[in-house]
Assembly symmetry: C2
Homo-oligomer: 109 residues x 2
């Protein structure tokens, strides 16, 4: 492997969107216009703390936006992908697809 | 989202093989019969410590095997995928491909 070789496509994966929980959050939100914190937590089998931690990373990256409101006088948080979030997920899917195509025939016995 | 919904395919991703550095290690090793620690470290732009930490996870999972030898009286470590490692990478690629197909048309503007 000479040092002039292009960086491996696996290195192009972005940790913000590739990390397993964050990728699952982006995936669920891509399939819903909007989703409550509780529904997302339950569907992804996460704790409140774990989901909040990953949502903060996605929010700070501008990929997810939160809308806080009240339902029957109880606070309720709605989440949705931003336009940048949808574009970042598209880039993540492209990078994964590239890796699959490159490696597909390398995993036969 | 009803609670009877099947778990999201993103949840099927295995952290051992999905984690970004470990996926890159498996990818590079899938494309080489064998590879030295130094070549892998340089190609993936990692530190010795970071590469060792991830290799330990892959080795304990039985996905990578190390061969220690000497070249010009200097220790040299060779790495290769095990059969289980190749199968685990194939499963990882399948899971990524499933996610790409499921989400592809959900990321258009």
């Amino acid at each position: 492997m000479s040092e002039h070789e292009a960086p491996h496509p696996a290195l192009a994966l972005d940790e913000t969107t590739h990390q397993r929980v964050r990728l699952a959050i982006l995936a669920v939100l891509a399939e819903a216009t909007e989703c409550t914190f509780a529904a997302l937590r339950d569907q992804l089998e996460l704790t409140d703390g774990n989901l909040s931690r990953h949502l903060r990373v996605l929010e700070e990256a501008g990929l997810v936006e939160l809308r806080k409101t009240f339902a029957e006088r109880r606070p309720r948080t709605y989440l949705r992908l931003t336009r940048a979030g949808r574009a970042a997920l598209r880039a993540q899917l492209d990078a994964m697809e590239q890796l699959v195509h490159r490696l597909r025939d390398r995993t036969d016995d």
